[in-house]
């Protein structure tokens, strides 16, 4: 537990030190959303219509791209090797990395999402659901993505593989997340979608760290 907290603290400190990095996925998120009004010269109505999907897709892409850094540095500088050989279990290491990665890359994005949503004319009623769906969905994206990264992190040319590995698991999250916002923008209740997301959330968050730890062990032994 002690070393778990130290790890989380280290990661947050590092993220703070190189602030830029933490804003990275935030900027990318904003970018994707910003480019749309520019690129499709759309009417306000059209924008509002695609807003839920757009925000969710932007969040998904930002989350996927930030994954790359999840274990790469620790792998290349030998830190991962050290943890694999320590008397602590790799599971607590995995948990710590996943948690701090989510805090660094996804939390800022959730905080800023309402602003973008409003600028895309999403109805105010849907903002709450947007935030809840992101709060449930983005940890899932991080944790599922973590498995993919752990599996590919030892490979030199891993970047191509990753989307292929994680995307099939991302799509359900996207569907439920986006449709939750979509229906609540149309004035309906999004409870159904949110329950499913919550279920996936619990499942993912309990099982993924085991898978991540096992995959890391495999990667490190190459």
């Amino acid at each position: 537990m002690n070393s778990f907290l130290t790890l989380v603290k280290r990661d947050l400190l590092l993220a703070y030190r190189s602030r830029g990095e933490a804003f990275n996925s935030l900027i990318f998120f904003g970018l994707v959303i910003l480019l749309f009004p520019i690129g499709i010269s759309a009417s306000e109505k059209l924008l509002a219509e695609i807003a839920p999907g757009l925000i969710w897709i932007a969040a998904l892409l930002a989350s996927m791209l930030s994954l790359d850094n999840l274990f790469k540095e620790d792998f290349h500088d030998g830190t991962l090797e050290q943890w694999a050989l320590s008397h602590h279990s790799l599971i607590s290491f995995a948990w710590a990395r996943l948690l701090s990665h989510w805090i660094i890359t996804a939390l800022p994005l959730i905080i800023i999402a309402p602003m973008f949503a409003l600028s895309l004319n999403l109805p105010t009623e849907a903002i709450g659901v947007l935030i809840i769906s992101l709060l449930l969905g983005t940890p899932l994206l991080t944790f599922i993505g973590g498995i993919g990264v752990a599996l590919t992190t030892g490979l030199k040319k891993s970047s191509m593989l990753l989307p292929l590995l994680v995307l099939p698991f991302y799509i359900p999250v996207l569907i439920f997340g986006a449709s939750a916002v979509d229906v609540s923008a149309d004035g309906w209740s999004a409870a159904g979608q949110l329950y499913i997301l919550a279920g996936l959330f619990v499942l993912g968050i309990t099982l993924a760290p085991f898978a991540v730890a096992t995959s890391l062990k495999v990667s490190v032994s190459q």
Binding site: G20, P37, I38, S41
Partner: protein, 257 residues
Amino acid sequence: MNILIKWYYRLGAPLWFYPLAGKLIPWVAALFLLFLIPGLYMGLVTAPADYQQGESFRIMYVHVPAAWMSMFVYLAMAIAAVVALVWRVRMAEIMIISAVPIGASFALIALLTGAFWGKPMWGAWWVWDARLTSELILLFIYLGILALYNAIEDKTTAGKAMSILTLVGVVNLPIIHYSVVWWNTLHQAATVSVFDKPSIHIDMLIPLLLMATAFKFLFLLILLLKMRANLIEQDVHSGWVKKIILDKQAEMEKEHD
């Protein structure tokens, strides 16, 4: 030519520049006020209200000079960038990095005032029109230059990298200026031109020109202040700063006697 080069290198020497800038600052500040006060008075009080736009057009006296300055500052930076890259004059780099936040502020003011003006005129804060977009891009370029300079720890390298980026960004200036000609947009076409008779009433024009001149001096004023600050900050460890501090101390002691 020779004199020019000599002048250059003298201006390039911090020890020479620092006190000179110090002496200039009060004069520039005075000139700024000299143009600002009548400009504001005429613009806000004596100029006639526009028959089409009513009183809201008065925002022009901030919007237009700020928009002009956002481009003028960039042009000045680009010239300094050439100087910095070709002749390796460090003062030129200091000038650029000092000018960036000022230019960015002007661009931001132009954008904000434009948006406030656009709401009554066009019924929207913002449209993706060529001039508006290219001005927004200008703001981003300013921010990019600033971020790049701050990201590189070694300031010699940072200065060079920044100069290159500044030069690359120059392509945006003609786009901003001619956007109203090249594309049909919502935005006003040029009202003031060096060659043509201005298409604006003389009572409106004079305060506009006064304000534009005042903004130029404002730029110069802030630039000198910032350059002095940046110089001291970068060179704390170097000899000339110590010399200036010693001189200052000697001066103060003399006054005490």
